[in-house]
């Protein structure tokens, strides 16, 4: 449905994106994940036909986004970075206007407006002026205008920005509900957003796609090199020896030590590439008579993923994906990954 090949965009001499290639199948949700300034918005704008690319091609439903702009415009719903709203209109009047310029027929218009209002939980506020809405509501009106004409392809640039946690959940469910009938591409800098809503993910950094994966594979990959923080009681040197000999440990670092009335507590960070690193660690500690006060998995942040993806060789990543597929890391922890990127 969406095919992007070798897309690049220069602003003056500065490349915003370089040689981006990916595709989205019909009915699929693709997450476009990257830190701010990575080129997400630029890519979205090119896809929507708002900006011309400097090189490469982007096709939506077989139409080139710039050459056959009108064909593409009829088939997309687009939420830009800042929701495009007329502040002096009511929500309902605004959606009616959007439906009109998107070419929804007069007979369908009221239905479609109602549908969008309902989907975005705006029905009760339909007569409210957009000027009087909070950021979260405005964002939802922005999403409503992107779906009001029932487009086959929906492009959402940071759809959950400015929403409170409750609304974020609603919007994510809404987006998930769009899959199947619609092809969705959404950009975000929040990792859990991708793991919760998207089928596939393209990771972009410094204007380049550094990885494209199914979402589960990304999550697996992230936990592959997971780290633990431990608080132990006992001889520091003994602890060091024991920890360093645990199977799969690649890196060991003592963070600090504090004297307590019952002895010395030492704090450690252990990095392991074993799939069941947690189990290995606890078993080793118990066997050697070290007391464990706290053990915590250090959650991989988006920064870690980028670092990993941008510093390591691609082959290594591929091997790792194949090697590690421990199922427990997929579900339970996926939700609580740190929303760490500034």
């Amino acid at each position: 449905m969406i095919e992007v090949e070798h897309l690049s965009k220069l602003y003056g001499a500065t490349p915003a994106i370089q040689d981006i290639t990916f595709s989205v199948e019909s009915g699929e949700i693709l997450g476009f994940l990257g830190p701010n300034g990575a080129g997400k918005t630029t890519t979205m704008r090119i896809l929507s036909g708002y900006l011309p690319a400097s090189g490469g091609t982007a096709k939506i439903a077989g139409f080139e986004v710039h050459e056959q702009s009108m064909e593409v415009r009829q088939r997309i719903g687009y939420l830009p970075e800042n929701p495009p709203l007329y502040l002096d209109m009511t929500i309902e009047a605004f959606l009616d206007f959007v439906a009109r310029i998107k070419g929804v027929s007069a007979g369908d218009r009221a239905n479609r407006v109602n549908y969008a209002l309902e989907k975005c939980n705006l029905t009760e506020r339909r007569k409210t002026l957009i000027r009087k809405l909070s950021k979260g509501f405005r964002q939802r009106v922005g999403i409503a205008q992107a779906i009001v004409h029932d487009p086959p392809v929906i492009i959402l640039d940071e759809p959950t920005v400015g929403l409170d946690p409750r609304q974020i959940i609603d919007v994510r469910n809404l987006i998930k509900g769009l899959a199947g009938d619609h092809t969705v591409i959404l950009s975000t800098h929040i990792l859990p957003e991708v793991s919760m809503t998207c089928d596939r993910v393209a990771i972009i950094n410094r204007g380049q796609v550094v990885a494209t994966n199914r979402t589960e594979e990304l999550t697996t990959q992230m936990f592959a090199g997971s780290a633990y923080e431990l608080e132990l009681d006992g001889e520091i040197e003994q602890a060091r020896t024991v920890l360093s000999q645990v199977k799969g440990v690649t890196d060991l670092e003592q963070l600090s030590s504090v004297s307590h009335s019952d002895g010395i507590h030492s704090y450690w960070r252990v990095r392991s590439d074993a799939p069941d690193a947690g189990r290995e660690l606890t078993i080793a500690l118990v066997r050697n008579g070290l007391h464990l006060y706290e053990m915590r998995r250090v959650q991989a942040s988006l920064e870690d993923v980028f670092l990993q993806l941008t510093t390591e060789e691609k082959t290594e990543i591929a091997e790792r994906i194949e090697a590690d597929s421990s199922p427990e890391s997929l579900n339970s922890d996926a939700v609580s990954i740190e929303e760490g990127m500034p």
Partner: protein, 269 residues
């Protein structure tokens, strides 16, 4: 074709809606009507206004004076509309300044540019809306003129009354069209207003310069002068070339707007 008209109408409707919702639109209307009413009162009823002059004229004629015939109703329209033509030059930039600057500032241009609607349709819809608003500014003025002129003896021809007002509307449309183009060039409403006003001053001066320039250049420039053609219409000289000039200015404004929005889309970083 139907789609195009539907698109133009959608834009037109939205723009009009926003005029009715905007406090400043009412303020402009109030100020314009107050100035118009004040001028009309002065021109008609003051000590040396049209009515007073008419009375003096009648007295002189009755006293046996040989005076050329004067149509005072026509004089009233001419004086009032000439003055209005000057006043609207201050109002029009304010009407056109926000046409595109607001869209650019609010990011709604991105919505329009990614919807299946051409830049032309957007520009035409916007221009129609702002001209409609301008027409509603003129309408009440026409009502009280009509009331006063209904007392004219001999009665005036409807066309003598209508042409000058059509001229005013065309002058407005031409200026608004150029103002719309200027507003498509900037994010700043104030800059758009000042630049449009500057352009109007140039157009206004063109009239004066044209009179002084010799030969073809002078006549050519005079032919392009909006005010000259407006004056002609006010005088009741209806010439297709005048209508063509107004039409050309209107078209030029729409054309440049569509082009500048297209270009804006390309260069935007």
């Amino acid at each position: 074709m139907n789609v195009l008209l539907a698109n133009i109408f959608a834009i037109y409707r939205r723009e009009l809606q926003s005029y009715f919702a905007a406090p400043w639109a009412y303020v402009i209307a109030a100020i314009f009507w107050a100035i118009g009413a004040f001028l009309f009162t002065i021109i008609t009823f003051s000590d040396n206004g049209i009515i007073a002059q008419g009375q003096i004229y009648d007295m002189q004629v009755q006293a046996g004076g040989q005076l050329p015939p004067i149509d005072f109703a026509y004089e009233l329209i001419r004086m009032f509309l000439s003055t209005l033509g000057f006043i609207v030059l201050f109002i029009l930039p304010i009407l056109s300044m926000g046409l595109y600057t607001e869209e650019r500032k609010r990011g709604t241009l991105e919505l329009l540019a990614t919807s299946p609607i051409t830049n032309w349709a957007v520009a035409v819809g916007k221009l129609l809306a702002v001209v409609t608003f301008f027409a509603t500014l003129i309408l009440p003025l026409m009502v009280y003129q009509a009331i006063v002129l209904s007392a004219a003896n001999p009665p005036i021809q409807p066309l003598v009354f209508l042409w000058p007002h059509l001229g005013l509307l065309l002058l407005g449309a031409a200026v608004l069209s150029l103002g719309m183009f200027i507003s498509s060039l900037t994010d700043s409403t104030i800059v758009a207003a000042i630049a449009t006003f500057g352009l109007l001053v140039v157009l206004w001066l063109m009239d004066t310069i044209a009179d002084r320039l010799p030969g073809v250049l002078g006549t050519g420039l005079a032919h392009l002068s909006l005010l000259k053609h407006y004056t002609n219409l006010v005088l009741g000289i209806v010439d297709t070339s005048s209508l063509m000039v107004f039409g050309s200015y209107i078209f030029l404004g729409i054309f440049l707007t569509a082009q500048s929005i297209e270009a804006f889309r390309f260069q935007r970083s």
